[in-house]
Amino acid sequence: MHELAVCQALIDQVTGIASSRNAREVIEINVQIGPLSGVEPHLLQQAFSVASAGTLAEGAALNLTTMPVQVRCQQCHRVTTALPSRLVCGHCGDWRTRVVSGDDLLLTTVELSTAGIPSLTH
């Protein structure tokens, strides 16, 4: 349910970038998302169509790249894939690990439609 709030924050960021660059519209939004971010990709996608209506981001493609859950073991130092509910080392089984991927919630790039002319005056 908090996906709507997260989505509104995303759209605020994106439309802020778009208007600062005098873009006519947002074509594409790319986001990296991990299972440990607590945000469900399909709910974020659903929220987007509602929250983007009437903004520069309306009609944009929201591409969500799901990141794998990976941990680095502090004992054997290997990086292994893990389950969100079980973040133990896949190699030696030790529980003392650090998440290196899977808690992402990152706006990576935005594609904008602009006037089509190289410009150095923003």
Binding site: D12, I17, G38, V39, S85, L87, V99, L105, S113
Partner: protein, 266 residues
């Protein structure tokens, strides 16, 4: 300068227009902007601002999270009874509706601010920031933020707290950490609440809850507590006192041992 034909592109600035660069635009009028920013960037900025406020006044900020009914308010009442004379406490209460929890806190003579979130299932840093405008932080040692009862949404939002404390009550399953890994990973301390009911219930095994926490690579301490019987509250209080001692208090502060009586309502 001329933006029509591109004659303003020089050796000095051409790199800015390269693919992937800050001002890159394709011939068909598309511009690709690299952002690499957290989706909740604005929330995190406000949270950092809140934290700076707490730090400036040497106030320990504790965010209490749990499912509804795990005993957050009862824990606060017991905590006020235990250390309310030594330390000056304020509570920010988050609920979808009603001021019931804030009223319970105020009946203990402690300043409580209610945030009614309406349909929002969590507190965010902006809501807490607004609440802080109603608090004179120079008067307090600890601010508890009682989040909306929910094991999912509150975990995603930094409020500017120093510590997240997550309650898991004996009436819930001991596998809750495995079911809600995002929440329990965020915990700096886990309190197994209502532990006076453990002998009656029989099916909640604290060691099992600890094992599930360990499988989340959690290093958070786990205390068994009961707000009703008072069991385990000593360890919780010591943990809080260590937290306040770790903060640099406002110079010249002398009234911590004898707090002014708080107004019952804001």
């Amino acid at each position: 300068m001329c933006n029509t034909c591109g004659c303003n592109v020089t050796h000095g600035n051409a790199h800015l227009l390269a693919p992937g660069a800050k001002l890159y635009r394709t011939d068909d009028g598309h511009e690709s902007v690299s952002v690499l920013r957290h989706l909740l960037h604005e929330n995190d900025r406000t949270a950092a601002h809140n934290r700076a406020h707490f730090d400036r006044h040497g106030v320990l900020a504790v965010n209490l999270m749990s499912s509804p009914g795990a005993g957050k308010t009862a824990l606060l009442e017991a905590t006020i009874d235990a250390i309310g004379r030594e330390l000056s406490i304020a509570v920010i209460e988050g609920d979808l509706e009603t001021e019931n929890d804030a009223e319970r806190i105020r009946r203990r003579g402690v300043h409580a601010i209610q945030i009614t979130t309406g349909s929002a299932c969590h507190l965010d840093a902006h809501m807490v920031h607004d609440a802080l405008h109603q608090l004179d932080l120079s008067q307090f040692d600890i601010v508890f933020i009682e989040n909306v009862g929910n094991l999912v949404c509150p975990a995603g939002f930094d409020l500017g707290q120093h510590h997240n404390v997550v309650l898991l009550s004996a009436t819930e399953g001991d596998d809750k950490p495995a079911k809600y890994p995002v929440m329990f990973r965020a915990a700096d301390l886990v309190l197994l609440s209502k532990c006076d009911l453990l002998p009656v219930l029989g099916d909640f095994r604290p060691e099992q809850a600890r094992l599930h926490l360990q499988e989340l690579a959690s290093t958070a301490p786990v205390f068994e507590v009961s707000a009703r019987s008072g069991a385990g509250l000593g360890a919780w209080v010591d943990w809080l006192l260590a937290g306040t001692a770790g903060l640099e208090h406002r110079p010249g502060r002398t009234d911590a041992a004898a707090p002014e009586p708080q107004n019952p309502a804001p």
